[in-house]
Symmetry: C2
Subunit: 458 residues, 2 copies
């Protein structure tokens, strides 16, 4: 890094909080995606004022700045595409306030999702989005990505819970959006525009979240289907059954086979499996919903149905889904995870289309997903060293994106656009919508210094 710049940054955050040591730059070059981009420096601010002064300097000197949380993003959104600085926000990690009577938690962006959950638990409350990365990912990253999770069908995603933000804009100005009230109809809704903007419009330095009382009871069930189509139809019919499961996970036969063969789990060999959870304040409420779901499973020719009667039995049913991450990491091939979403009734069409794409390119694709909100995670298995195969994976991924959009779906349910899906924005959004997005970016960040190169902007 240029010595003058390094000095100027050290003046803001202290010498010990700015680095251009190779080891730091290398570790900031990657995240949970397949991309790699090395920054010229990294900086750890601890206050809003420091973030503001850094952005004032960056704005004046035209230095690209890429904000970063825990680096668990799956699309490269925290990687410095064009170099410049990585701004690591994990040291701004204080839970500032929990106000149960106002249903609010006020946090800094570096607070880890699970730490907030732990702080809320003794009070009987929780923050519902439940991203799979929650043990390590930061709330700032969750906000930037609009992170979702297993409970999206019933509880929505991060955006549904962000009431207000303190933001530093690309030119260093500080502002507050939204409020600490449960509802407001005052002026333009800036808060939710910034949520999911992937750190391209501003840096959230304080986040006000709505929290929920935790349900006291739940019920878990599992159904194995001989035909994948039956499972897809069952998901559609669950929607008709007048209840909303808190979790509704879909696993295809590839995943099930891997769980049986590699993790040694005692699962029925079948074409597809659905794992559901219902919840409520009373056991009767959770059971009532589970009965509705089990009736749907029976209607759709489930070959085996299990219902947990105890917490241990529920845990056993969950074991497969929960061990998936580590099982997949242990597979002797590379695995690219995608994240499309379609209207729930299109799930069967999507799965059939993916099967065709798999055959067309000779690439194995395993599917699991949050069927309750139509969010599917196809896993593309390949060998990265085999360039021809890797190239076929890229084509298969592009076909899957096109298929999802053709079915009225979206490129991403919860992982964001980042670098990975940037080239595909035109598949989903019309030119006027893209022009609006890009106009907002230009308006707020005329020099294109805040997380440039993401979301498909020029």
């Amino acid at each position: 890094m240029d010595e003058k710049l390094k000095k100027a940054l050290a003046d803001i955050v202290g010498k010990e909080n700015v680095t251009d040591a190779t080891i730091d730059l290398v570790s900031y070059s990657s995240d949970f995606s397949e991309h790699e981009h090395r920054p010229e420096g990294a900086i750890w601010p601890t206050t809003t004022e420091q973030v503001s002064r850094i952005m004032q300097l960056a704005h004046k000197e035209r230095i690209p700045v890429t904000p970063r949380g825990a680096g668990t993003g799956a699309t490269g959104m925290a990687l410095p595409k064009v170099g410049g600085l990585v701004m690591d926000l994990v040291r701004m990690n204080r839970i500032l306030d929990i106000r149960i009577e106002d249903r609010l938690a006020i946090v800094q962006p570096g607070v880890v999702y699970a730490d907030l959950q732990r702080a809320l638990e003794p009070q009987g409350f929780f923050f519902p989005p439940d991203p799979a990365s929650g043990k390590v990912s930061t709330l700032g990253g969750n906000v930037a990505t609009n992170a979702g999770g297993l409970k999206g069908a019933k509880y929505g995603t991060t955006r549904d819970y962000v009431l207000g933000l303190e933001l530093v804009l690309p030119d260093g100005r500080i502002t507050r959006t939204g409020s600490r009230c449960m509802k407001s109809a005052s002026g333009y809704e800036l808060t939710r525009l910034f949520v999911g903007s992937e750190g391209t419009l501003g840096i959230a330095t304080e986040i006000t979240l709505k929290i929920n009382p935790r349900p006291l009871a739940s019920s878990t069930g599992l159904a194995a289907f001989g035909k994948q189509g039956d499972a897809g139809d069952a998901v559609s019919e669950i929607m008709h059954s007048g209840i909303i499961p808190s979790v509704c996970e879909f696993l295809d036969r590839h995943i099930i086979t891997i769980l049986i063969e590699r993790a040694g789990l005692d699962l029925p060999r079948c074409d597809a499996m659905i794992l559901v959870e219902t919840d409520g304040y009373t056991q009767g409420e959770a059971d009532f919903q589970m009965e509705k779901i089990i009736a749907v499973f029976k209607n759709h020719h489930a070959q085996e149905i299990k219902k947990a009667s105890t917490a241990d039995e529920a845990e056993a049913l969950w074991q497969g889904r929960k061990s998936l991450g580590s099982v997949i990491l242990g597979l002797p091939f590379d695995c690219l995870v995608e994240d499309i979403t379609v209207p729930m009734s299109k799930l069967t069409d999507l799965l059939e289309g993916i099967e065709e794409i798999s055959a067309k390119y000779g690439i194995e694709i395993m599917n699991l997903g949050h069927a309750g909100d139509g969010n599917l995670h196809p896993h593309f298995l390949y060998n990265e060293a085999d360039e021809a195969q890797a190239a076929r994976v890229q084509k298969a991924v592009a076909d899957v994106f096109a298929l999802a959009c053709d079915l009225g779906g979206t490129l991403t349910g919860e992982h964001g656009i980042g670098l990975s899906k940037a080239p595909f924005m035109g598949l989903e959004h019309d030119p006027v919508a893209l022009d609006l997005m890009w106009s907002f970016k230009r308006l707020l960040d005329p020099h294109n210094i805040l997380n440039p190169g993401k979301m498909g902007f020029p």
Copy 2:
């Protein structure tokens, strides 16, 4: 209206769908607010293409256009502040699709809220926001205002349910935002920026709404308090009790007195009353929550607690709240209804502050509101013909706004800014946030032709 313009508009929508007849202009001069502004003409488009062509013409000829639904807005947002055209969207009133398996309803903006509700009911679904004006107000108006209602505490407001929009921008361009999926993390969230923008950024010509399965059971209860502070404390503690009531209405002693004396209702004479409803799929779930709430009422010295055991008893408890609108309309004075929201724990402070303001200006202020989400509707009683008194009301209203903002609240929970609260935007939003809002407006509507003069913009 200028004959050339009238001809150009008739070419777009047909002669019978454009008017400058005095009787039409007079009826479009007012809404549910105290404001009055007469347009030069009114137009009834029936297709998106017509809306687009009207806006292209308006953009080119710099003609102000004010979109309008049923005219039930309480802040004047559908009134043509600077003249020009009123665009009445009530003839675009088709429910285009209801897709239960995808939890979606797709509607045109002129569909009346209650008509959608009626269409969903046989399928066991509902659209939760429940605005008090729902029998007449249009979904386009609900979207423009981000309308809320009695069930906000548990179910949120309109914005929480809008997944996608077809929009005509101020220059006539047509775009689609959002998607028909339950969730998305793709690009900037334009949809929810347009929701609540009061028709100043674009005209929604098609609305995709998330719908919910209807709860099958409910429980209703009522508590009378000898001290208003006890009622406020009870609301705070309900938040701690680990459940969320579907309705939690607050009524103060002025309202109660009026209901007893003018509507002849059999209510306990008391300082404050709370009316609650809980719901669920099972009666046990609704009852479990009601028991928690009743325990809170007892803890806070409720002098009388009633719980409905039958639907008729519940209806009797609701009678007071439901008849309020017509009782207030029948009062022998004018009544200005406000709509502030504070964090729930500040409700008592807010009520005490309003009492002081009432005494300071010698203006009677009655309070009722959706306590479960901190939304209070102070009713200012006065005689419009008494200019000195009317002027004092204006000052009292301004003081109430300042008080709400001081308590960390917002100017409006569900009625919007419109003309009424335009001068007060600076009380709530900082200059940077206001600058952002105004920049967005300028970006999309450089000639300031779409609903100009609202939201406090220059």
